[in-house]
Symmetry: C2
Subunit: 283 residues, 2 copies
Amino acid sequence: MLQSTRTIGIVGLGLIGGCMALDLKQLGYVVYGVARRPATVMAALEQGVVTQASCDLSLMAEADVVVVCTPMATIVPTVGQLADLLPASVIVTDVGSVKGEIVAAATSLWPNFVGGHPMAGKAESGLSAAEAGLFRQRPYVVTPIETTQSAAVEQVVAIATQLGSQVYRSTPTAHDQAVAAISHLPVMVSASLLHTCLGEADVQVKTLAQKLASSGFCDTSRVGGGNPELGTMMAQYNRPALLQVLHQYRHQLDTLIQMIDAQQWDVLEQTLSIAQAERPKYL
Amino acid sequence: MLQSTRTIGIVGLGLIGGCMALDLKQLGYVVYGVARRPATVMAALEQGVVTQASCDLSLMAEADVVVVCTPMATIVPTVGQLADLLPASVIVTDVGSVKGEIVAAATSLWPNFVGGHPMAGKAESGLSAAEAGLFRQRPYVVTPIETTQSAAVEQVVAIATQLGSQVYRSTPTAHDQAVAAISHLPVMVSASLLHTCLGEADVQVKTLAQKLASSGFCDTSRVGGGNPELGTMMAQYNRPALLQVLHQYRHQLDTLIQMIDAQQWDVLEQTLSIAQAERPKYL
C-alpha cells in the first residue's frame, strides 16, 4: 500500500473496474466503487470486490485516487462530474484505450488528471467476469502531459506497479500511434482480408476457399472477425492515428504488389526475410 | 489397397513424399522411392518408409502410379524425365501447391497426368520429420482438366481418400484462385502489417509498439513472418491469381479507409459485423 494513498475510488464496475477493485482490495486499500446500475452495486458488495459501493458519485469525495473505468464515451463527462465533487488534492486517472483527446479534455476539467491504459482483458465482459491478477505482467501505459504534476504521475505508476503490470510512460500522442499500429490497424487489415474472400464473385472459388482455409487464414482473420462495436470504437476514438497508419500500410501493400507485378523475386524474398527476422521484437 | 494399383512410386522423399510413402506402405502398397541424394535413399530405407529406394528415376518404371513430391520448380522437369521411362499406362500425379501452369505443362508431357494438392504440412521439413497420418482430415484437391481420363482421376481420388484426406475436385484455375485468397494473400497482408510497424519513423513510437504488441498482433503477423522462400515461391508460381486478389484486397482496404475518413461509423460497424458473422464459414 502507498503511504499517501489509503482509499481508491473506482467509477464503473465492469470487467476492468471490477478486476482493479479486486486486486486493490487484496493489496490492502480501502476501495470505494460507483456503478450506474443498483444491481451492479449489489453484486460488487456481494462478490466482495469493494469495501463500499453506491450509485452516487459523491462517494468518490472520500478517495485519495479515483480511477475512471467507464466506457470511452463516458470518461470525460465523468471527470466533469467528479470536478464538482472532489477536493483538489484527489488524483483522477482513467483506463481508456485511446489517450490523446481524453487526456487533453480531462486535464482541462481536472488539472490533477493522469491518463492511463492498462492493456489487459478477456473475452467475457462485466463484473461477473472479474478475476484477480488480470493486470499482472501486462503492459500499463501512463500518459502524462507537460502540465501533469510528477507526484500524481508517480502515484499512478506506483499503483500500476502494485497491480503487477509492466509500466510504460509515454506521451498520449505516441501511445495512440503505437496502439493504432499494433492493435487497431490489425483489425482493419484482417477485416479487409475477410471481406476480400467474401466478395469473391465466382461461387465455385468462394466455396472451395472456405473449405481449404486453414490455420494461416484462421489466425490472420481472427481480429477482423472480432467484436464489431469495439472495432468501430477504436476507429472512432483513434481516427487520426489510425488513418495515418492505414495510409502507411496501403503504401507497404502497394510496394509488395509492385514487386510481384515486376517479378522482383529477390527483392520480395529479402522483404519477407526482414519480416521474419524482425517479428520476434513484437512478441 | 486398390485392385488396379499395387505399386506406388514416390519421387522426392522430403516431408510430403516421406509422409505419403509411410502411409501408403502401411496401407499395404509396395512403395518405391526415388531421392536425389544417396543419404536420403539410405535414410528412407532405414526408417522403413519405402519398400525399395534409389537415386535412379528408372525405378519408377515398375510403378502403377507415380507421385511427384519434389519442390515446385522440379515437378515439370521430373515429369519430362519420367515420360522417357514409363509405360503409357502409368498415372503420374503431383503435390504442388499451385496447379494451373504445372497441370498444363505436365499433361502436355504425359497425358496420363492428374494434378493434386494435399494441403498438409508442419513446421519441420525433410524426411526426418515424416510421420504417419499427416494427410488425415486435411483437404486434398484433385485438379483434372478436360483431357484428363476419368479413370486416372478416380485412381488419384481413391489414394487420397485412403490417406484419410477430405478430397475436393476443382479446375486448376479455381484451385489457384482459392489458395491465392486464403493462403497466399494472408502472407502478403500480414507481411505488409509487419513492414508498416517496422517502417515507423518515430523511434519512440516504434519501440513502444514493440512493447505493447499482444496476441492480436501476434496472430495477424504470424504468416507474414513465416518462411520467406515459401512466400516468394507462392507469389512466383501463383502470380496472376495472387495479383488479382491483391487488387481486390486493396479495394476493400480503400473502402474501409474511406468509411473511417468519412466517419461513417454505422457503415463501419455493419461491415465489421458481416466479417464477424461470416468468418466461421472459413474455420
